[in-house]
Amino acid sequence: MGFLDTLLGRTKPVQPKLDDLFALPSAAVTLDAGAGFKPTGSGSVCFRPVEGRSFSDVQKDVQELLDVSAGKEGGLPVEVTTDSYGFNWLVSSHMSDELDALVTDLHAVNSSLVDNGFGPQLLCTLVAFRDDQERRLGLVYLYKRGTFYPFAPLAGERRDNALELQVKGVIGSDLKFEPDLSRWFPVWGAPGL
C-alpha cells in the first residue's frame, strides 16, 4: 500500500499472481525423482465466496465449464466443498499422470474468477502428492505471493515439518518457494489431500 492509501485508510485488494502455477508439472518430476512423491491427480482451488448473486453466478459457470471438460475424458466431476472457515474448495480430479490437465483446470478456475473481478478472493491452490508409504503431501500455491510451500499433515493435526523441509530442499530451486516460514499456514482437512 502506498503512503496516500495508508493516510486515507484505503485498502487495495491484492490481485492474484497466476503464472507461476505452470511451473508445477516439471517440479513434480523432480519431486518424484528426489523424494518419491507422486501426484495423486487431485487438486483444488480455495477461494473466499462473496455474498450476492453476482459471485454465485460466476461459481456456477466455473463448475459447469469444468464438468464439461471432465465429461469429455470420462473423468470425475468437479466437487465443491465449504470448510469450517467459510472458504470454498473446488476439487478437480484427474488420473495421476495428468498433472498438465489438472493445472489447466485449476488455471481455468483462476482466470474465470479474475475475469469477473473476483481475483482478490483467491486464497490458494493445493495439489496432492503421496509416496509409497502413503505419506500425504500437499503443495500449496499462494496466489497473492505467487509462491509455493509444502504442507504435510500427520494424524491428529500435526505437521511433518521434517518432510516439508526435505521437500523444499528437493524442489526449492524448481519452484518459487515462500521464504517466510510464518506464511506456511496449515490447511487442515483440505479436500483432495
Binding site: L8, G9, V14, R48, G52, P120, K144, D180, S182
Partner: protein, 320 residues
C-alpha cells in the same frame, strides 16, 4: 476492468478524511503562528517553554507508540497464544492465517483476553509488532463468520497503520494540553511573586499561551475524534471487502453493540482507556444524542450499518 470498479474506494469518505487532516494541519500552523505572535508582541521569548512542551509531548507520544502493544495487552489482560494452546486459539489462528494470506499481510501476534466484555482490538507500532487481541466473551457470542468479520476489521486497522496515524494526529493535542498545564502553574507561581515590569510581562505571556492552548486543544480534540470515526468506517469497509461478507460484519456489530449496552458500568469504566482501539466502544448506546456523537471515537451503529450496506451493493453488482 471489472476488478477495479468492484473494489472502488469510497470517494466521500476519502474527501472527508482528507478535509479533517487538512484542518488538523491548519490548527497546527495557527498554533505555531499564535505562539510566535505572543512572543513578538511582548518582546519576550516563549521558546523555552514551548520547546520543553514539544520535547516532553514528543517523548510521551513516541513512548506510547513504541509500547502500544504491551500497554494495550496489559490493560486488557490479554495473553499471547500459539496455535496449539487449545481449540479457541487454534480456530483464531486458523482464521487469522487465512485472512493474512488473502490480504497478503504479515501475520500479527494473536492474543486472547479472558473477559466477558465482547470486544477485540489490534495495536502495535507497525505491522511487524502488531498484536491482535480478542476477548473470550466475543468468541462465545459470535458465529465463526461474524468473528472473522471482526478480525478482518481489526486487521484493516493494522494495514491502515491507524496506531501511527492517530498518534501523529494526537501529538498536537498532547502539546497543547502540556502547555495549558505549564502556563497554569507558571501563572500561579510567577504571578504570586509579581513585581516589576518584566514579571508582569511574563504573566501576560502565560495567560495568552494558556488561552491559545485551550482553544487549540478543544479544536484538535474534536478533529481527532472525527478522524477516529472516519478510520473506523474505513476499517469496516476494508474488512467487509476482504471477507466478501458485509452482512456477517453487520450482524457482529449489532450483537456486540447491543450486548455492550447491557453490561454494568463498572466493567465499562475499566475498559474506557482502550476505547479508541476497540471494535465497538465500551459505553452505553445513545444513538439519538448528537452531542455524544461528536465526542465519540466510533461512529454510531446506524452509520456503520449504512456504510456496510453500500459495500454490500457494490459487491453484489454484476460485472461489466
Amino acid at each position: 476492468m471489472a476488478a477495479r470498479t468492484r473494489y472502488a474506494p469510497d470517494r466521500g469518505l476519502t474527501v472527508r478524511m482528507t478535509a479533517t487532516m487538512f484542518l488538523l494541519g491548519l490548527v497546527f500552523v495557527a498554533f505555531v503562528a499564535a505562539i510566535i505572535a505572543i512572543g513578538a508582541a511582548y518582546h519576550a521569548s516563549s521558546a523555552a517553554i514551548v520547546l520543553f512542551a514539544v520535547v516532553l509531548g514528543g517523548g510521551f507520544a513516541i513512548g506510547s507508540l513504541f509500547y502500544s502493544d504491551k500497554i494495550a495487552l496489559a490493560t486488557a489482560g490479554g495473553r499471547e497464544v500459539g496455535p496449539n494452546d487449545g481449540p479457541m486459539a487454534r480456530d483464531l489462528h486458523g482464521t487469522v492465517d487465512r485472512l493474512c494470506a488473502l490480504a497478503d499481510m504479515k501475520k500479527p501476534r494473536v492474543a486472547i483476553a479472558d473477559t466477558d466484555l465482547p470486544n477485540a482490538f489490534a495495536t502495535g507500532r507497525n505491522a511487524d509488532h502488531a498484536v491482535l487481541c480478542v476477548t473470550t466473551g466475543l468468541m462465545r457470542r459470535l458465529t465463526p463468520e461474524e468473528l472473522e468479520g471482526v478480525i478482518a476489521h481489526e486487521m484493516s486497522h493494522v494495514a491502515h497503520k491507524d496506531v501511527q496515524v492517530m498518534t501523529a494526529a494526537s501529538f498536537l493535542a498532547i502539546i497543547a494540553a502540556l502547555l495549558i498545564r505549564i502556563a497554569f502553574y507558571g501563572e500561579l507561581f510567577g504571578g504570586g511573586r509579581g513585581r516589576g515590569g518584566n514579571n508582569q510581562n511574563a504573566g501576560i505571556i502565560m495567560l495568552a499561551l494558556m488561552a491559545v492552548s485551550i482553544v487549540v486543544y478543544a479544536v484538535s480534540f474534536l478533529l481527532i475524534r472525527m478522524l477516529s470515526r472516519y478510520r473506523e468506517l474505513a476499517a469496516d469497509r476494508s474488512g467487509a471487502l476482504l471477507t466478501g461478507k458485509p452482512s456477517a460484519l453487520k450482524s457482529a456489530l449489532i450483537k456486540v453493540s447491543t450486548d455492550m449496552a447491557r453490561i454494568p458500568t463498572q466493567d465499562l469504566r475499566a475498559a474506557e482507556p482502550l476505547n479508541a482501539f476497540f471494535f465497538a466502544p465500551a459505553m452505553k448506546l445513545n444513538a439519538k444524542a448528537s452531542l455524544s456523537t461528536i465526542f465519540s471515537t466510533h461512529p454510531s451503529l446506524e452509520r456503520r450499518l449504512a456504510e456496510l450496506d453500500k459495500v454490500q451493493q457494490q459487491l453484489g453488482r454484476t460485472a461489466g
